[in-house]
Amino acid sequence: MFTELFTYSAAEWDAIRLSLKVALLCTVLILPFAIGIGWVLARKNFIGKPVFEGFLHLPLVLPPVTVGYILLVILGRNGWIGHFLYEQWGIQIAFSFPAAVIAAIVVSFPLVTRSIRLSIELVDKNYEDAARTLGASNVRVFFSVTLPLALPGVLSGAILAFARSLGEFGATISFAGNIAGETQTLPLAIFSSMQVPGQETATMRLVVVSVILSLLAMIGAEYLNRRILKRKA
């Protein structure tokens, strides 16, 4: 029984690998946008900012299935944009690996942006002014002062994105489907395994991996949060 718990089948390895791939890609792709929007929200005021923020945070409170459905309506083969992509270039996003990544990006975006925005807000603007008097342009100020000082928050945002992607279920199953080896990530594999009677050990194997990965990510995020608070003090 014990060894069985750590002997993974090829299909289970596929699900674990796929989950990590989706989560990593999502994290890498999300960061530039999240940093950009996080900076705008932290430093700029514009008309309609509350509406923009509300829209941005929507995936945080919407049921993930709803998010997946909306994505399908937009990017599905008959969707507003999906239709155009398919007609022009024959690109089909829904029910493919990219769809799993997109679903992960959309649901994690508000979390990451929030974390980055807060850490940029904590950067003392006086340092930015000092950099300007030393001849630094706005771009250089951002990359040499603002971003390094906000770095722990950015990293903790990245870990949040990674962790949220690992756990993503609802949006993925409705937008990307449950295709083994292509879109069947860890949570989806657990769900499928649960449907089959007598697969309790297999399910438990996947659950153990899921718990370990999420726990590592949360410990990492907590460690970075402490560093932010320490730097602030």
Binding site: A130, A131, T133, L134, S137, N138
Partner: protein, 363 residues
């Protein structure tokens, strides 16, 4: 004298309005005013951190702000060395990286990195993080960083307030050394008059957002209004003297002005460094620490009894201020009652009496 900075600006900041016109030349200019009277706002406007509502600013004859022509040169193109009151060293960079932050690779180097490090004595700190440095060290690093950014003018906001009172006197020689060595004009803001006077005679007085006076301190104290502004801040007489003789037998040193028309004696111990004839020394004394008599007094412990003539006398809030020409202009504060009893007036010949210990000495 070449004009380094010319400004004529207005800015409304809440209920406070800044309205300054000034033309500032080379050398060190001290900007004095009580807290909240617009000193920092004035520096921020020159640096471009705040945008005036109207007016013009010229730096070395180049227009950096003109409201009518919509010119507002951004902060990073103004070449202003700004040493902030709260120092603002970048916490994530080492001391050396902080110093090099504004260093332009392709600019002709006017001020060299090694020179700055040497003058400010921060060589041993280069590898450290700012958080590992003391207050005085941080201050020197921040001055060095501003100098190395190719600044054409160095502005310092309250450079004495961030450091411990014991360290104040240690920062002053550095500022003097920078001015001498790098020939860079400096604007130094302070609400502490003695600190400013130990650095420069050239003052700009700010009150309620307006410049009330600009010029040599020795000239400014001839105006009653200026005295009123400076009185609360600790008004001092400032004399730029040289060591003219040492009197080791009496344990005293004789200091004189250029023409030897004004001499004071100070205690040998009050000089920190070796006494050399001809060495320049700045001496400060409070007007209320000087007494006036109409004759020399023999049976008295006071060594300094300097003869002069009253050239101006006026009364303010029950106190009489006599400006005495004794080779240097000496401001003396006495009570209204004494003035009447002694029958002092313009032209009266008097003796200024003070203890050697009342003198503040800057070498």
């Amino acid at each position: 004298m070449k004009k380094v900075l010319e400004l004529d600006i207005k800015k409304q900041l809440g209920s406070f309005s800044l309205n300054v016109q000034a033309s500032i030349g080379n050398g060190i200019t001290g900007i004095y005013g009580p807290s909240g009277h617009g000193k920092t706002s004035m520096l921020n406007a020159v640096a471009g951190l705040i945008r005036p509502d109207s007016g013009r600013i010229f730096l070395n004859d180049v227009c950096v702000y003109n409201a009518d022509e919509h010119i507002h040169v951004p902060v990073h193109k103004r070449k202003i060395g700004y040493v902030f009151q709260d120092i603002r060293l970048f916490p994530h960079l080492s001391v050396e990286q902080n110093l090099r932050y504004g260093l332009k690779k392709f600019d002709a180097v006017k001020i060299g990195f090694n020179q700055v490090v040497e003058v400010l004595q921060i060589n041993h700190l280069l590898a450290k993080k700012p958080s590992e440095c003391s207050g005085g060290e941080k201050q020197r690093i921040s001055i060095g960083r501003a100098l190395l950014s190719g600044a054409q003018i160095l502005m310092m906001d309250e450079p004495f307030s961030a450091v411990d009172i014991h360290l104040r006197n240690s920062i002053i020689p550095f500022l003097n050394a920078i001015n001498r060595r790098f020939q860079i004009p400096m604007l130094i803001v302070s609400h502490d008059l003695p600190d400013l006077l130990s650095l420069t005679d050239h003052l700009l007085l700010l009150k309620n957002g307006n410049i009330t006076a600009l010029g040599r301190f020795q000239d400014l104290i001839q105006d009653e209004n200026n005295i009123g502004i400076m009185k609360d801040a600790g008004l001092y007489n400032v004399f730029n003297l040289r060591v003219s003789d040492s009197l080791p037998a009496k344990n005293m040193v004789l200091l004189s002005n250029k023409s030897n028309s004004f001499q004071v004696q100070v205690l040998l111990q009050s000089l920190l460094q070796k006494v050399e004839i001809g060495k320049p020394i700045k001496v400060l004394i409070r007007p209320e620490d000087i007494s006036i008599s109409r004759q020399t007094v023999d049976q008295i412990s006071l060594r300094n009894q300097i003869q002069g003539k009253i050239i101006k006398i006026f009364t303010r809030k029950g106190l009489s201020f006599c400006l005495v020409d004794a080779g240097e202009k000496v401001l003396v504060e006495i009570t209204e009652a004494s003035k009447q009893k002694m029958n002092l007036d313009r032209g009266t010949t008097v003796y200024c009496l003070f203890k050697s210990a009342a003198l503040k000495i800057f070498e």
